[in-house]
């Protein structure tokens, strides 16, 4: 998470070695900032601006728009027309709060399931004989070679009443009546966990693979059973991987739209769908933008808090 730290030493060495060509160095340093500016900050500002506007039937369907020909005056006028009406609106209908909460709940549960499933897989991968590891890793990544949509659609065939899963369960005598899984929350969880599991496994694998197994030997040597050694040694030492994996699953899961739309039932409300409805059905770009801005803040806040916490920890341990 603390990617910024990594760049520091390399910048220092650059400073030392590339004397006299300051502009080139500045350019080099500026590239990532320009990237962030163009592809993150600018879109964010545009969306923020729309979220402060009012909806109108026009092209584009909001007001005010920024007319560059009016210069500074137009800019001021634009600012005067801004208001927080759309954000107030979001508090007036409980639908939005419910959508956010429901999305957070679904994302949280999915993340936990992915963690519980992904950890043993990552562990097994990390412990597998070296010559097998790249093959096994490939199997984890392999699904990405197929379109995400096709894979999610394939689950319809598995989960539906006359689907593969019910067929196998009925055939094996585990159930007498076909289960209704498709178009329920269970199907959403299956879809999300399936789609994002590799994002959980890969960071966990990266951490577990680097884990010094002599630590586990040391623990058992000191009287700790292998099972307990997992809890007191392996797990605490893989915390960074757990966090990374959880963020990688949780964040896209909160805003997930496609999986609930294809696999889920109509009664599940998620913020992605609510946003879609605002944007497309209601044509209310300003409210849709406000929903998006709030979602962004909701997702960024825990990351910032987490990073602050990590920095504190790092400072404390220096």
């Amino acid at each position: 998470m603390a990617l910024a730290d990594i760049t520091t030493p390399s910048q220092e060495t650059e400073q030392a070695s590339v004397q006299g060509s300051g502009w080139r160095r500045s350019l080099l340093i500026a590239v990532p900032y320009i990237w962030l500016l163009v592809f993150f900050l600018a879109p964010f500002v545009i969306v923020l601006k729309i979220s402060l506007s009012d909806v109108v039937l026009a092209r584009p369907p909001y007001f005010p728009t920024f007319d560059i020909s009016e210069g500074w005056q137009g800019f001021v006028a634009m600012f005067q027309a801004f208001d927080l009406e759309n954000y107030v609106w979001l508090t007036e209908d409980t639908l939005y709060l419910k959508s956010y909460l429901s999305s957070l709940k679904i994302a949280f549960i999915s993340t936990m399931i992915a963690l519980v499933l992904g950890y043993p897989i990552a562990y097994a991968l990390a412990k597998a004989p070296k010559e097998w590891r790249s093959t096994l890793l490939m199997l984890v990544i392999l699904p990405f070679w197929t379109s995400f949509l096709i894979r999610v659609y394939a689950w319809i065939g598995i989960l539906k009443k006359e689907g593969v899963l019910n067929y196998v369960l009925l055939w094996s005598g585990i159930i007498d009546e076909p289960l209704t899984i498709l178009n329920t929350d269970a199907a959403i969880y299956i879809g999300i966990v399936y789609s994002y599991l590799p994002f959980m496994i890969l960071p966990l694998y990266a951490v577990l693979e680097k884990l010094d197994y002599s630590l586990l030997e040391a623990a058992t040597d000191l009287g700790c059973s292998p099972f307990k050694a997992f809890w007191v040694i392996t797990l605490p030492l893989s915390v960074s991987g757990i966090w990374a994996g959880c963020f990688l699953v949780f964040i896209p899961a909160v805003g997930e739209f496609v999986i609930p739309d294809i696999l889920g039932g109509s009664s599940t409300i998620m913020i992605g769908k609510t946003l879609w409805v605002e944007f497309f059905s209601n044509r209310d770009w300003p409210v849709a933008s406000a929903v998006a801005i709030l979602l962004l803040i909701m997702l960024i806040m825990p990351i910032i808090l987490f990073q602050k916490q990590q920095e504190k920890q790092a400072e404390a341990s220096q």
Binding site: S214, L215, P226
Partner: protein
């Protein structure tokens, strides 16, 4: 850290010479295979209580495998390992009264020094107060009291090493295994720590088994050394015995510097033997109880410091060879003369520098005589 070295009462402590003594550890015909590779071959060995036992050998000789079998991380393919009277095979690693100090130290990075040292006690559900007392005791033993709250990454190499030692000692194991414990330390710190280890071992009255490839370390700390080669024990004896009376060229060569002269035997008397090492020169005479048939190939091993060197032919000497100074190695306290003899081989003779360098009479290209007593060397058949 200024610990005074108390010379071990080596002469008194020799349980291996007492046939009635029950060994603490008994390897009984142990073989360990990894696939097709035989790491340990039909090995039997006794280690006694309060011993500081060293397993010495080059990497790949099987010494680490033996230690890992003691710790329970590996299991013998054949044979038994007994600890006290019990068969060790049955117990998993976490139920053995054996602790190990890892080569990498294997300190838990997420726990501070205190928690690392107390870890083993905590696993045994030792009362909190008792853990606290033991940890403090260990901290004072390794003189790390001020560092109790530090995490491993905030410690120096020597400090980590001492935490690892304290951690492995905290449970007062019957047997402590040390896997190349000082390998990561620089020379001075290593020497100092060797003496600390010996002190602690003596103070606590525990049995230590150390794995090392460093012969000096083994000789310094060990009550006995097992010299290992390719999964077999070549010789088990006290450092002095191995040094003075190696049983093979391998042993002789592994411990300290040695001249090995190959030749053929004459009929040996049981007291002395003659070794014909060169067609032009007189045979060498060696005291030995070995009786070998005539014309057998045999070797004389003689330590460089046992050789004397002079410009003039000594009036009387059991063995004397003429040669030319080929090279001189000067290491301050000692000078090693490399002398090329008639058959082209080099003999090393060490002379302690009691005189100043400038006064030394022998120099490069000088013709010299290397001579020694018949009892100075060891006669070897392998």
């Amino acid at each position: 850290m200024e610990t005074l070295v108390s010379t071990q009462p080596v002469s008194d402590f020799a349980p291996w010479n007492n046939p009635g003594e029950v060994p603490l550890v008994h390897f009984d015909g142990v073989t360990k295979k990894f696939g097709d590779f035989t790491a340990i071959e039909n090995l039997s060995l006794n280690i006694y209580e309060r011993e500081f036992f060293a397993l010495l050998g080059p990497s790949g000789c099987g010494k680490t495998t033996m230690m890992r079998m003691l710790a329970g991380f590996e299991h013998p393919t054949k044979g038994n390992i007994l600890l006290g009277q019990g068969n060790l095979q049955e117990a998993p690693p976490h139920k053995r009264p054996v602790n190990m100090m890892f080569q990498s130290y294997a300190l838990f990075p997420h726990m501070n020094v205190e928690q690392n040292i107390g870890f083993g006690l905590k696993q045994d559900k030792t009362p909190k107060a008792e853990i606290k007392r033991r940890v403090e005791e260990m901290l004072s033993l390794v003189q790390l009291e001020p560092f109790a709250k530090r995490k491993p990454h905030q410690l120096s190499g020597g400090q980590k090493q001492r935490v690892a030692l304290a951690r492995s000692l905290a449970k007062k194991p019957k047997l402590l295994l040390l896997d190349e414990p000082l390998g990561a330390l620089d020379r001075k710190l290593r020497e100092q720590t060797q003496f600390e280890l010996m002190n602690i071992q003596e103070q606590l009255g525990l049995t230590f088994v150390i794995v090392t490839h460093d012969q000096e370390e083994a000789m310094t700390v060990a009550s006995r050394i097992a010299v290992m080669d390719h999964g077999k024990i070549v010789q088990v004896a006290t450092p002095a015995e191995i040094y003075e009376y190696p049983n093979s060229r391998y042993s002789a060569d592994f411990l300290g510097d040695v001249n090995i002269i190959e030749g053929r035997t004459d009929i040996s008397t049981g007291e002395t033997a003659s070794l014909y090492w060169s067609d032009e020169e007189a045979p060498l005479t060696v005291s030995t109880s070995l009786r070998l048939p005539a014309q057998t190939t045999a070797w004389l091993a003689v330590r460089p410091e046992k050789l004397r060197i002079s410009k003039d032919k000594p009036p009387t000497s059991d063995n004397c060879i003429q040669g030319k100074v080929w090279d001189i190695g000067y290491t301050g306290n000692i000078s090693t003369y490399h002398v090329k003899v008639s058959n082209g081989s080099i003999l090393k003779a060490q002379v302690s520098n009691q005189e100043r360098l400038a006064d030394r009479p022998i120099t490069w290209e000088d013709t010299v005589f290397v001579h020694w007593d018949k009892g100075a060397g060891v006669f070897l058949e392998t």
